[in-house]
C-alpha cells in the first residue's frame, strides 16, 4: 500500500512539475482571491488583519477545489483511469498517493498564501507552530476529502459544477478549525485557544483518511 501510494504520488507530482498548472494557475488564483478579499473589505488594515485567518482558509479551500479538479482531470484522458485500475495497484495506496500529491501542492500553495496574508493584510504571526500545525493538519483533511469527492465525480460530465457543491460543505469543519487556530496563533490571540481546534482537525483527518482507505476501491468501480 505505502509503496503504491509513493508511486502514484510521484507520478502526479512529476506531471505537475512538468506541466506547472498548479504553479502557473492555481497559486496565482489564490493570490488574486486574496487581493479581491482586500477590495471587498476596503483599505482598513486593522479589519484585514482581523479577517486574515478566515480569508486565508477560504482561499485555500477554493484552491483545493482547483487542485482536486486537476488531480482528477489528469486521469480522465487517454483512459488513464482504466489503466490505473488495470495496473493492480492497491486502491488504498492509490487513494493515499493521489491525496498526498494534492496535499504536497496545497502545502506549497499555503506557503505562498501565508506570505501573501502577512504582506498584504499585515497579519503578524506570534506562535508559528500553531500556524504550521493547522496548515499541515488542515491540508491532510482537505486532500483526503477532496480526493474522495474527486473520485466520486470522476466520470461525470457535470464534474466542474458538482464537485465544489459537494466538497465545500464537507470541508466546513476544516475552515472553522483552521481559522480558529490561526486566530490563536496571530497577534492578539491566545495560544491555548488553538489546541482544541487542532484536536478537531486530527479527528477530521483520521476519519476521512480511514474512510478513504476503505471505500476508494468501491468508489472507483462505480465511477
Amino acid at each position: 500500500m505505502w509503496r503504491d501510494s509513493l508511486l502514484v504520488a510521484g507520478k502526479d507530482l512529476r506531471i505537475e512539475a512538468r506541466s506547472r498548472v498548479g504553479l502557473s494557475q492555481v497559486a496565482p488564483f489564490g493570490v488574486v482571491a486574496l487581493v479581491l478579499f482586500a477590495f471587498a473589505l476596503g483599505p482598513d488594515r486593522v479589519l484585514m488583519a482581523k479577517g486574515a485567518p478566515g480569508l486565508f482558509w477560504v482561499a485555500v479551500l477554493f484552491c483545493t477545489v482547483l487542485a482536486v479538479q486537476r488531480s482528477v482531470s489528469v486521469e480522465s484522458v487517454d483512459g488513464a483511469r482504466d489503466g490505473l485500475r488495470l495496473s493492480g495497484l492497491d486502491p488504498a495506496g492509490l487513494f493515499l498517493g493521489k491525496a498526498a500529491a494534492v496535499a504536497a501542492q496545497l502545502i506549497v500553495l499555503e506557503a505562498v498564501l501565508g506570505v501573501g496574508v502577512v504582506l498584504l493584510y499585515g497579519a503578524k504571526i506570534e506562535v508559528p507552530w500553531l500556524i504550521v500545525a493547522s496548515c499541515v493538519l488542515g491540508t491532510v483533511g482537505l486532500a483526503a476529502t477532496g480526493t474522495l469527492y474527486g473520485a466520486l465525480s470522476a466520470g461525470l460530465r457535470v464534474r466542474e459544477t458538482l464537485l465544489p457543491f459537494l466538497f465545500l460543505p464537507i470541508a466546513a469543519p476544516v475552515l472553522l478549525a483552521g481559522t480558529r487556530v490561526w486566530q490563536a496563533g496571530l497577534a492578539g490571540g491566545t495560544e491555548s485557544y488553538g489546541s482544541p481546534w487542532l484536536r478537531l482537525l486530527v479527528v477530521f483527518d483520521a476519519i476521512y483518511v480511514a474512510v478513504g482507505i476503505v471505500v476508494f476501491g468501491p468508489i472507483q468501480e462505480s465511477a
Binding site: 476529502t145 474522495l148 469527492y149 466520486l152 461525470l156 460530465r157 457535470v158 458538482l162 457543491f165 459537494l166 460543505p169 464537507i170 466546513a172 469543519p173 472553522l176 478549525a177 482544541p196 481546534w197 478537531l200 479527528v203 477530521f204 476519519i207 476521512y208 474512510v211 471505500v215 468501491p218 468508489i219 468501480e221 462505480s222 465511477a223
Partner: protein, 282 residues
Amino acid sequence: MSSNQTVSTPPAPSDIPPAPSDTRPAQSLRPPAQSARARWTTRIIGITALVATGFTVWLGLWVTPPDVTQGNLVRLVYIHPGVAWVALYLAFGLAAVSSLLYLWPRTRSLFWDRLAAASVEVGVVFNVCTLISGSIWGKPTWGVWWAWDARLTSTAVLLVLFLGYLALRRVPAEPEVRAKRSAFVALFAAVDIPIVHFSVLWWKTLHQGATVLNANLSPTIHGSMAWTLLLGFVALTLVFVWMLLVRYRIGVLEDWLGTGELDVALRERQAEGAAIDEDEAA
C-alpha cells in the same frame, strides 16, 4: 449515451400504434402494479396523519394556554421541534442507514437506494421548514432572523450537504451506478455532521437546551402543552412516513418510465420499419 443515438424525438406514447411484428406482452408499457395492501396502508397513514395534524393545530392554537413569558409565541413549540426531529434525526438517519444497507453487499438492493432518496428528499423539505419555523421564533425572541449558533449552523450545513446529494442524483446514470455514488455521498455527509456539530458547538451557543430529551428524561413542561407537543411529534412523524411512501412509489414509477420510454421508442421504430416494408411490398 443511449439518448444520443435516438435522432428524432419520439411522439407521445398514446400516438404510437402497436407494432405488428412485436408479439411480446406489453408488460413494461403498463406501470408496475402496487399491491392493494400497500395502497391501503399509504391511504390509512395519510388520513391518520391528516387527522393528527388537525388535532395538533386545534390543540396548539385554541386549547393550550399562552406561555407566561413567551405569550403566543410558545405555540411554535408544537411544530418546530417535531419538524426538526423528522428532518434531522428520522429522515437523515434513515437515509444514512439505508445508504449503508445498499453498500453492504448482502443487503444490496435498489429498494434501499430508493428509500434513501425518498428519505433525503422529504427530509430536505422538513429541514427547510425547521429553518423557517426557527427563524419565525428567533426574530421576536433573539431579535434576529438568523443566529450563528451550533444547531442552526449544523442544520444549515446538513441542508446544503443533502441538496448536494439530490443534485448528484439528478445526474443521469445507470440506476446501480447512481445508487452506489449517492450512497457514498450520503455516508460521507452523515460522517461529517457530528464533526460539524461539535465544531460549531464551541461557538457561543444561543439555542436553548433540549426540553423533552434532556439528561434525566423528565419533560420540563406540563399538562396540555406537553400532550400537544407529543401529539405534534406523532403527527409530523406520520406526515413524514406518508410522504416517504408516496415518494418511494414515485421513485418506482420514475425508474419504470426510464426503461418504459426506451421500450416505447423501440416499438415505434419497429412500427416504422414494418410500414416501410409494407410500402415496398405494395
